[in-house]
């Protein structure tokens, strides 16, 4: 890796101020950042001059439930979230999502804050030495469009980019109605991710996630998470899905299918208030992907229309898991 300055922040304010400098980046678990830096994914002009360590800020790692709200500190490791029995029983989708992210070691190192802020995994974007200087990085082409896009967006491009959001916890947070609290503001989870060059969130340069807040679901509410990947460990999702079903309400969110996590409102309408059975769940699955186009194949590129079938299936299975 090329060198950089390193600064241990003592408080969020310090970290925020430090992030105002040119080319400063925050490091939490480091599992995304260091990979990016080692591979020189972005141009040299964007290589950080300073890395600001958030782990030295005390009291940002906690899981507590207070008066109807689950509060998780941004620096809480994914392993702790996955293992927490309260999260497992009342906020199941999140525990399942955290538990299926990456590998055991990475779950110990990776934080929830880092997981929702991670950069996309498009293999053109990520090819080492900035081999493909794409739209997302300020270039003028999306190489996946004419290349191999088997893992890319099935709902078309956003500003020319078809890379997907790779987070497993993101759809769970949306399904669970989470609020993401930063040092500047608080956002509904659904509004947290946004196409940005080259990152994936709406955070300003000096904005840091502090806490995730999830309203305690009413009794009788169930949530579930499904992940599809080639392997059961290590891999990023090809498609994933989180679902929350209460007596009257349904919240369904797919991810790895579009630029941002994809709230499947048509699927929600299809299942709201209905019995959780095979037929209804299947209909909801079909509704979730209505509007999905997928990329056509060409030569060695198989395209990604098959993801539509998988997305449909995961929605169905996640709903059935909420029975």
């Amino acid at each position: 890796m090329k060198t950089f300055e390193h600064f241990n922040a003592n408080t969020i304010e310090e970290a925020s101020m430090a992030l105002e400098s040119e080319n400063a980046e925050a490091i939490a678990g480091g599992t995304d950042l260091l990979g990016r830096l080692k591979n020189d994914v972005l141009s040299s002009a964007m290589y950080p001059k300073t890395i600001i360590n958030l782990k030295t800020i005390s009291s940002l790692s906690y899981i507590k439930e207070e008066t109807g709200i689950l509060k998780i500190g941004a620096l809480t490791p994914l392993s702790a979230i996955a293992a927490d029995t309260n999260v497992q029983s009342k906020y199941s989708a999140l525990a399942q999502a955290a538990g299926k992210t990456a590998s055991p070691h990475l779950r110990e190192m990776g934080t929830i804050g880092g997981n929702i802020c991670q950069y996309n995994r498009c293999w053109y974007f990520r090819n080492p030495d900035n081999r493909f200087d794409c739209i997302r990085k300020g270039g003028n082409m999306c190489f996946a469009m004419m290349g191999d896009n088997r893992y890319h967006s099935i709902f078309g491009a956003v500003q020319g980019c078809i890379a997907v959001n790779p987070s497993d916890t993101a759809p769970a947070l949306i399904a669970l109605n989470a609020i993401i609290v930063t040092n500047k503001d608080a956002y509904e989870a659904e509004n947290f991710w946004d196409y940005a060059v080259p990152g994936s969130t709406i955070l300003a340069a000096n904005e840091i996630v502090k806490e995730i807040q999830i309203p305690t679901p009413a009794s009788g509410t169930k949530s579930a998470f499904q992940k599809f990947a080639l392997r059961k460990t290590i891999d990023f999702p090809i498609v994933n899905c989180a679902v929350l079903i209460s007596r009257e309400d349904a919240r369904i969110c797919l991810n790895a299918v579009h630029n941002n996590p994809y709230r499947a409102t048509k699927a929600e309408d299809a299942i709201k208030g209905k019995a959780i059975d095979e037929a209804n769940a299947e209909a909801a699955g079909a509704a979730a992907v209505s509007g999905a186009i997928g990329m056509p194949g060409n030569g060695s590129n198989p395209g990604n229309k098959y993801k539509i079938q998988i997305a449909k299936t995961l929605v169905k299975r996640a709903i059935l898991a909420c029975k």
């Binding site: 950089f4 400098s21 260091l34 001059k49 890395i51 110990e108």
Partner: protein, 264 residues
């Protein structure tokens, strides 16, 4: 590097500060002033210098009596360079001075103390060096291997405060004061193999051996937490460790053997 010194003079407190975590970026890149201040004051010591003066004021009362009243003037803050004690009126001027005059001192290398296998090592570390690199190349502990160098294979696993982590994805400077256990730390001081190592020996839980240190260290963390794991527990705990020889079966048998024989 200037050493810490305390000097007190009448009315003036001056301290030399060993600038750690300087954050004063080379090349003139702007860093916020508050940041600079905080960075310099990380230890609770400050490069600011508040001077209070005792002032004698003599006034003559109307009736011809002289009175002397003693007051204290409000303090003025000056900013003191820790290297040469020059004083500046504001932080911006101090920063400019540091960057102009003391660039060599603002070297990125930092002295850190790493506690590895219950030994303290004092080592100069550049900020971008990973823990894997430092323990292998600077401490000479080459038992920890580097596989993919990007957190996807589990080969470089060490225990950081008893938690199995990927040392290639951790910055060494962030590991100060945390106890680190590598493969070298498992055997006893007299060379007796740890029960886990013994089990892997007897069951031949390896072929080429490259993934073995990472797997044994991960196993230690597992058995410390869960001394009687099921097969699924073991598979799950080792699901982030890749073996290119496909020796998973004998690895599983080795861990079960270690657990059965009290492999803590």
């Amino acid at each position: 590097m200037p050493e810490k010194e305390k000097e007190t003079q009448d009315g003036q407190i001056s301290r030399r500060q060993f600038i750690r975590n300087a954050g004063i970026v080379v090349g003139g890149t702007a860093v916020g002033s508050a940041f600079l201040l905080t960075a310099c004051g990380g230890d609770g010591e400050t490069v600011t210098n508040t001077v209070t003066k005792t002032v004698n004021v003599t006034t003559t009362a109307g009736s011809g009596t002289t009175q002397t009243v003693t007051t204290t003037a409000a303090g003025t803050t000056t900013y003191v360079c820790p290297y040469d004690n020059q004083q500046f009126a504001n932080l911006a001027e101090l920063k400019a001075h540091l960057e102009a005059q003391h660039m060599e001192a603002l070297t990125k290398t930092r002295l850190v103390t790493l506690n590895v296998n219950s030994n303290d090592y004092i080592v100069e570390v550049e900020p971008q060096w990973t823990l894997a690199f430092v323990i292998r190349d600077k401490l000479g502990l080459t038992g920890t291997k580097i596989g993919c160098d990007e957190g996807a294979c589990g080969t470089c696993t060490v225990l950081l405060e008893s938690i199995p982590i990927l040392s290639c994805m951790v910055l060494a400077i962030e590991c100060e004061s945390k106890n680190i256990l590598t493969i070298e730390g498992l055997e006893a001081k007299d060379g007796t193999l740890h029960p886990i190592q013994k089990a892997f020996s007897e069951e031949m839980g390896f072929q080429c051996g490259f993934c073995t240190p990472g797997i044994i260290v991960t196993t230690k963390a597992l058995l410390d937490k869960n001394p009687s794991p099921t097969t699924d527990d073991i598979k799950s705990a080792l699901s982030g460790n890749l073996c290119s020889c496909g020796a998973y079966d004998s690895i599983l048998k080795s861990v079960l053997s270690a657990a059965n024989k009290g492999g803590i």
